[in-house]
Symmetry: C2
Subunit: 81 residues, 2 copies
DNA sequence: TGAATATATACGCTAATACGTATATTTCAA
DNA sequence: TTGAAATATACGTATTAGCGTATATATTCA
């Protein structure tokens, strides 16, 4: 299973879902990321100015993997990679 | 084809690669993202504090898709989704 | 329902992005 | 080689994340 993420909002939703699936509180996740609970709260709220670093730290803590690929609808550019 | 991204640095490398594949200059990409060329430069350099919004805007402009999934090595948590 | 737990906010502070504008540098082709 | 195009930096400004610390609101559950 995997989730498509197109915006900070969707990223926040995904982090929240994964965190809850793991049964962690924001404080628990924040601790693993070495940030404050308030920072996790904002990340999950989809704050657009959240630092990329914070997002990646969350993915790492949640043992999630981020894969970038060409958009399926982008037929005019088959060999992007 | 797809690329795994685990950090701002890797994100920057990927954006640069995709941009070049499209034959765009940083200025060209910046214009499509509605940010300055300097911002694209920093994004590609892997600046950890780059705003998530900027990263997502770049992916959108480059017609790239971001998919989050559980890490393959994370066997202890099969049903994260 | 009442208390414990969890999440959203707040204040003062520091640091750093991104902005506009501009230029120093590096890259690359004629 | 040289000159244009591309990229990295710079300066001053405005804005805001994230920090420490703390608390107002939910939310959960015995």
């Amino acid at each position: 299973m995997s989730d498509l993420v197109r915006s900070p909002r969707m990223a926040g939703d995904l982090v929240r879902k994964a965190r809850k699936t793991r049964g962690w509180s924001q404080t628990e996740l924040a601790s693993r990321m070495n940030v404050r609970q308030a920072t996790v709260s904002k990340l999950e709220a989809g704050e657009p100015a959240t630092r990329m670093e914070v997002f990646f730290d969350a993915l790492t803590a949640l043992k999630l993997e981020l894969v970038v690929s060409k958009r399926g609808s982008d037929a005019d550019f088959a060999d992007l990679f």
